[in-house]
Amino acid sequence: MNSLRLALIAAVLLGLWQGIVVLFALPPFILPGPLAVARAAADNAALLTWHSIITLGEIAAGTFLGVALGAATALAMAASKPLRGLLAPLLLFSQIIPVFAVAPLLTLWLGYGFGPKVVMAVLVIFFPVASAFFDGLMQTRREWLDLAANAAATPARSLLLLRVPAAIPSFVTGLRLALIYAPIGAVLGEWVGASRGLGYLMLFANGRAHTDLMFAALLALTLLAMLFYAVIMALAKMLLGKYLRA
């Protein structure tokens, strides 16, 4: 039922797209129709796959590192008040600084390869994960903190056995945002300076007025990001499901 509705929506939108192209007789370098894009995708399947793999690698590495760094920061801040004072401004700074402005610097320092794209992804992911998880860690139900105090729990065990499990739903909220932001970071890095990846392919195609290929790359990026999101969320539900109970 759900997939049927989704297919119907997609069909209507694609029809509308093709209709506009035909109705206004738009040249293909301005707006290629969905059929032209599909043809470009099929003709360049190997090329698109190769660049998709590069971008997926950047997204996956960035997500892994960004989530790990964000979660570790949240834990450190929840465990220690002095660290909280030290890390809180850093956390804010990491989000306030415009990543667009940092991207050329990262390319300058780290080159045109894999590294700066991963760092870009980490930069955009770090904040939502750290901030959501930290909020969760600081909002443990009072009853459970009472339980810890009544049982004469050590602070470390109280964090490990009560506060972290209780904060998993917040962590998953942060993870969800991270999965949405990660492709933005990676592609941003590719736009600024790269020789590989879907972001690079889009710029390359755009520069040569291969608008149909650019759309095909955009389509590949969208599918890639959605697939990555679906797989990681399914994995999270499988591994953390018991912490998401009511």
């Binding site: 009853e143 459970w144 810890a148 050590t154 065990r157 109970r245």
Partner: protein
């Protein structure tokens, strides 16, 4: 191990606003003392103070035990919300106290206690699959696991339906026998069934009332239970006035 007697006297305030007192309250060692009173009179705060769970309250007074030792480290605390961890199964919930202290969780003992509260076979169920009464049984088993001589109960049965509540009252009396129990309730009927002594807490202080000599739990429709419940209701009405 018989629980020690408890003596509390003093006054409490939060941010300069008086919560209760000055008052003086005694709980018989190894007996059940019911703490009755209107909402907002400070019953829960008093219980939290005894358990050492009220760092935000400034308490001017003293809490002592008949044996001269401290009360808070030897007191278990159960509140109306059962505090069960939704991500842990029943067995893990019962042993959480030990694990929080880094001690070895004695699974066999936990299983024995679960059998005692009528939850054999529920070890690996999760709290969201249990009824309210079953959840309170798990909370009771967890309290017993802690082997503490003082048990503080803050309206633990008030959210249960009447039949379940009666069953839980009888079960709690049986398995907590010998411990010093302080039970906060706003139900005179509950106090009349369970109490060895009743402390009625009002704005003017605490009034102690001895319960009938008949064994607890008293039958709800017993003549002395009904008379005692009526006596408690009248006393509460006077306190509230």
């Amino acid at each position: 191990m018989k629980g020690p007697s408890l003596h509390i006297e003093g006054r409490a305030a939060i941010d300069g606003e008086a919560v209760f007192g000055p008052l003086s309250l005694d709980a018989r060692g190894g007996g059940v003392t019911c703490l009755l009173g209107p909402s907002g009179v400070g019953k829960s705060t008093l219980l939290r103070l005894i358990a050492g769970l009220a760092p935000y309250v400034s308490f001017d007074g003293r809490i002592t035990c008949g044996d001269g030792e401290q009360a808070a480290p030897r007191a278990s605390f159960i509140q109306q919300s059962d505090m069960l961890l939704p991500w842990a199964d029943v067995l893990a919930n019962v042993t959480i106290g030990k694990r929080l202290r880094g001690e070895k969780a004695d699974t066999e003992k936990a299983q024995g206690l679960l059998a005692e509260v009528g939850l054999s076979g529920f070890e690996h169920r999760f709290p969201n699959t249990l009824s309210g009464g079953q959840r309170q049984r798990v909370a009771l088993a967890r309290t017993l696991m802690e082997e503490r001589p003082i048990v503080l109960l803050d309206e633990p049965f008030s959210a249960l339906d009447i039949k379940t509540r009666h069953g839980m009252q009888a079960l709690a009396l049986r398995i907590l026998a010998g411990k010093t129990v302080l039970l906060v309730t706003h139900d005179p009927g509950e106090a009349a069934r369970l109490a060895d002594d009743v402390a009625i807490m009002g704005v003017a202080g605490v009034k102690m009332i001895s319960a009938p000599a008949s064994p607890t739990p008293r039958p709800t429709d017993g003549a002395d239970t009904i008379a005692f419940a009526a006596q408690l209701t009248a006393a509460m009405m006077r306190e509230a006035a």
